[in-house]
Symmetry: D2
Subunit: 120 residues, 4 copies
């Protein structure tokens, strides 16, 4: 990971933010994943009464609120990965490969089933 | 965002993954945030019965499972941001600035209260 | 609460279940609410790719899976309320009254806004 | 279920609440489970920075906030079960039986593993 990786910059900035506030004592991974789940729910809240179609075309006011929640999710995700010393890019690429194996395009095209719900 | 930004690479890879499977029809932001919340819960599940201290020192087996869930969270986060045309780096930096204003270091040091719970 | 209240029966049965397994040591409210959130996500997973209309007419197979997750949510909810010594019926009726005040029928009819999003 | 079952009373009251506000149009099960997950997250938020021990001994102020969130969870749970025509008491007792089979007391005593993590 190069020094210019934006994720690495973010990781360092968040570590500094916590250190300045003496918050590492609270940032056990258990607590951070709870906080992450709360941020995701704040994102979900924006969408709960919309139809799927409406969710594809947000008003600019709604979009601004959504953007802030997406940011919060990213911040906690980066923070918990840092605390667990996980390289998110590596983990993501490994997972994409797993998904390619689980969901071969020709088999799952146009279907939303889980990998273990397909009948051969 | 430069062509070499790992996030941009991931975004393109996931868009291609969905297109090959004809999954864009399912990927309304409403649906994607639900899927994101499910992935976060799979992450939470790993930690639910641990103490905070235990969560700071995972076994290597546990850590591997956690890593995969962190990857899933990132994948859905990038995917929903793409569908909503949100620049995650910009949003994150805007949010860090907001947090700096809400939580001045000298005021919140060593405390875990929410910004609106501090008494002046 | 009468001895025949089904909720009270459930509460006692779950307390006994935990005691027999020596699980009270794990059942701190913090941990139980995490487990509750995981069960809710398993419920959400059933619905993530459906349209709202599809969710109103589940197949009998899908419905059976959903029913089991609803049960899990209830079990953890009763368990955490027990650990915190909260009377769920009282709390629910108090909350309904709050909602009636926040959302007067004539004001919110046919709208899905949050109580603080209405313009006078 | 007798007419005096408190759950049945609650179910009827919530159905009436929605009807008076013309909210059934929004109350597709998909939407209701999203709302349920948001309420659970508001509950989780109260606990995120606490230790498990602290969560066993809430201040009365904290407890009041928690109680309100527990009520919200129950309200949405009852509402979604109603919309899906699920009998929560029956589902709960069926699930307890499943749990008794999955987690025999003598096997799991004092352990927090998932049923598929035990080695014989």
């Amino acid at each position: 990971m190069s020094a210019e990786d934006p994720l690495e910059n973010l990781r360092r900035e968040l570590a500094e933010f916590a250190r300045e506030r003496d918050w590492d004592q609270f940032h056990a991974p258990k607590n951070l994943v709870m906080a992450l789940s709360v941020e995701v729910a704040e994102l979900v809240e924006h969408f709960q009464w919309m139809t799927p179609e409406e969710s594809r075309a947000l008003s600019s006011k709604k979009r601004a609120g959504v953007e802030e929640e997406l940011a919060d999710v990213l911040l906690y995700l980066v923070r918990v990965a840092d605390k667990l010393d996980v390289d998110l890019w590596e983990a993501a690429h490994r997972k994409i490969q797993i998904n390619k194996d689980k969901y071969p395009a020709e088999r799952v095209r146009g279907k939303s089933l889980k990998y273990d719900e397909y009948e051969d």
